[in-house]
């Protein structure tokens, strides 16, 4: 993560910033901030029926916030000159991420401990730890979490397939471009379209081509979403189908970065291919593999589209991922509070596990001498 440290641009630009300019800079930043606070105050007073200004929504606050953000960016240049221009490179993105992630997350914490049915007129009701108890005794949520573990473990198989394909693509073959494009295709397709194309039509029990093939091979009544294990496996396969290209390309890039001399030296020493793979290629590929697997895990944890569209969690919650479960929880009961609490709980688990994983991976990736 810190590979580029020390590669900075070391140029100092002369700057003369007059007092009037500095004052003006301060004025627009603080002026717009005051404007923002005033708007928020007025709107909250209006919201709590204290005073009535006839605001229809919180748009004015949004505009005031945007104005403040703009003034803050402008103010940096006015106040700090060259240094401010440097800040301007990252300030907009920082402000953007803070306003669409950090602020909603804090807001989400507030919602998580309340019961809020969007379709009922009562609005938000704080209900303390009731959501925690509800979650604790919700077998479907725990089931969804358990499914996520299965889904994540499936990555190992995806990795093996992706690695073999990358090895094949890395050999001397004709029509490499064709194969690369063909292998890349599944990643480009929209998961929703994929769930229709494969899940709903090709796996259709009576006349989908895959069921037909299964019948040819001697499976009497192919049903892909009948039993729990089968349905889960099919979802895993469809997701693998979409995402194997991603891992494959990362691994392929790693394979191509291995210097040829390594293999030549091994050839001179007369190493058999199998040994060459285990003792040269695989260890050298370890960092790339770990990066690829970590990225794949991150994407896997968001798995939802295919499940929502193909099985909507069934049969009996066997294919539910956490995301699809919360999606249905909201769709069926429109309970924002409980759904948000489940999501926050999921986020906490993910953050803890990913931190541990990244720490372990970091240790593994460091070369051992």
């Amino acid at each position: 993560m810190s590979a580029s440290e020390g590669n900075y641009l070391h140029i100092v630009m002369p700057d003369q910033i007059s007092d009037t300019r500095r004052n003006f800079g301060r004025f627009i930043i603080w002026g717009s901030a005051v404007l923002l606070i005033l708007t928020v105050l007025l709107q909250s007073l209006d919201q709590s029926n204290f005073l009535s200004f006839g605001f229809e929504n919180w748009r004015p606050t949004l505009y005031a916030y945007l104005f403040w953000a703009f003034c803050l960016c402008l103010g940096q240049v006015i106040l700090y000159g060259e240094q401010g221009k440097r800040r301007l490179f990252i300030l907009p993105a920082v402000l953007f991420v803070i306003s669409v992630v950090i602020f909603p997350l804090i807001f989400a914490l507030g919602i998580a401990f309340s019961s809020w049915n969007l379709s009922s007129p009562d609005g938000r009701q704080f209900n303390g730890l009731a959501n925690v108890y509800q979650m604790w005794s919700d077998p479907f949520y725990w089931n969804a979490l358990k499914n996520m573990i299965y889904y994540t473990l499936a990555i190992l198989f995806e990795y093996i397939i992706a690695f073999s394909l990358a090895l094949l693509l890395n050999t001397q073959i004709r029509a490499r471009k064709f194969f690369r494009v063909a292998f890349l295709m599944p990643l480009m397709l929209s998961p929703v379209a994929v769930s229709w194309m494969i899940g709903k039509s090709m796996l259709e029990a009576r006349f989908g081509p895959i069921s037909r093939l299964a019948r040819e091979l001697g499976w009497e009544n192919p049903s892909f979403f009948g039993s729990h294990e089968m349905a889960r496996a099919v979802i895993m396969m469809m997701d693998a189908w979409t995402f194997i290209p991603l891992m494959m390309i990362m691994i392929l890039a790693g394979l191509q970065a291995i210097p040829k001399e390594m293999h030549e030296a091994a050839d001179v020493d007369g190493a058999p291919p199998w040994k060459k793979f285990w003792e040269i290629t695989f260890p050298l590929m370890l960092p790339v593999s770990i990066t690829a697997i970590l990225i794949r895990i991150i994407f896997k944890l968001k798995l939802a589209d295919i499940i929502i569209n193909v099985t909507s969690g069934g049969p009996g919650g066997a294919t539910d991922s956490v995301t699809s479960f919360i999606f249905r929880e909201y769709r069926d009961r429109s309970n924002v509070g409980y759904g948000t609490f489940l999501a926050i709980f999921y986020l906490i688990i993910i953050v803890i596990l990913m931190t541990i994983l990244i720490k372990i991976a970091d240790k593994w990736m460091r070369p051992r001498y």
């Binding site: 929504n57 949004l62 807001f107 929209s190 081509p209 944890l301 924002v336 999921y346 986020l347």
Partner: protein, 305 residues
């Protein structure tokens, strides 16, 4: 007595069964996997032109075991004899298609603009915001990748309702920008890291300002990376379903939501579903074929250090 019956001719000696077997195996596996990757697309395209009996009988090869009909495109109002006639389905479809296009393009553009500036800043200057240094800021951006969309979905539902942004394109654009921003930063950081700092130093010494040096010298060099980041963002935002399903209802509905909403109700109208799915994947299939180089470049970024 011991006369050898078979002699190895020069031709026989040059035959290496091992080598041929290997070739055969490699191409065999490659072709099988290519088939697995491409068959669903082929199936969708052909199903667009099948009538119900053809679907039931499982006919696969056009003109050989079934005659193509314009059923699928007709149901979307895009077949030759319906294209000039008023058609509500087509109106609907074009509206969704247009929504998807606008949302995907604007959010990718914004993400690439914000992301390349940020990546450039992080790769060139040392910042300090309180305790946050460059690597912390980098981590702050990249860690957004871990955030599952479901955590933001419900708060945004409520927030957008209050802000009257529910079911608007702008609302979706903001969220999509957020989802692809970490990926753009990841790719662009890699790209800028490989450009030597001496270039800007020379430019600055020659009297260019910081932003001008960035715009006229660095950006053109980083263009391949920018295109890669843009295309990957485009793919992700075009295909996004989860947020669109929750946050839009009629006005700003995107194409994936339209496809998904048809699956339940019209399970039997195979040709129309196939046509719709096909239309949803077609732009990306074309992009994938034409710009494959950039996509691979983008995905490989950061894998190799």
């Amino acid at each position: 007595m011991n006369k050898q019956i078979f002699h190895d001719t020069a031709q026989d000696l040059s035959f290496k069964p091992n080598w041929f077997f290997n070739r055969f195996l490699i191409y065999g596996v490659l072709i099988i996997w290519a088939f697995i990757c491409l068959f669903p697309i082929y199936w969708t395209i052909t199903t667009t032109f099948k009538a119900a009996p053809d679907v039931m009988k499982g006919n696969i090869v056009p003109w050989w075991d079934f005659t193509p009909k314009w059923l699928g495109l007709k149901s979307l109002g895009l077949s030759p004899n319906t294209i000039f006639v008023e058609n509500t389905v087509r109106e609907e479809f074009l509206k969704r298609f247009w929504n998807s296009t606008i949302i995907a393009f604007s959010s990718s553009t914004i993400a690439v603009a914000l992301g390349s500036c940020t990546a450039y800043g992080l790769s060139r200057f040392s910042y300090r915001f309180g305790f946050m240094r460059n690597s912390d800021i980098s981590f702050f951006f990249l860690s957004q990748l871990i955030l599952p969309p479901v955590v933001l979905a419900l708060p945004f539902l409520v927030l957008y309702k209050e802000l009257a942004l529910l079911d608007t394109r702008i609302g979706l654009i903001a969220l999509y920008t957020l989802t692809v921003l970490p990926i753009v930063i990841w790719i662009m950081r890699d790209q800028f890291g490989s450009i030597p700092v001496e270039l800007e130093e020379a430019a600055l010494v020659d009297g260019l300002s910081l932003w001008k040096a960035f715009g006229t010298i660095i950006l053109p060099i980083a263009l391949p990376g920018i295109i890669a980041a843009f295309i990957i963002s485009l793919v992700l935002t075009w295909n996004e379903y989860f947020f669109a399903a929750l946050l839009t209802s009629s006005h700003a509905k995107t194409l994936p939501v339209m496809v998904a909403s048809q699956t339940g109700s019209q399970g039997i109208a195979w040709w129309s579903m196939a046509a719709l799915s096909f239309a949803a994947i077609l732009p990306l299939v074309i992009i994938g074929i034409v710009l494959e180089k950039f996509i691979i470049k983008g995905m490989a970024a950061g894998a190799v250090k």
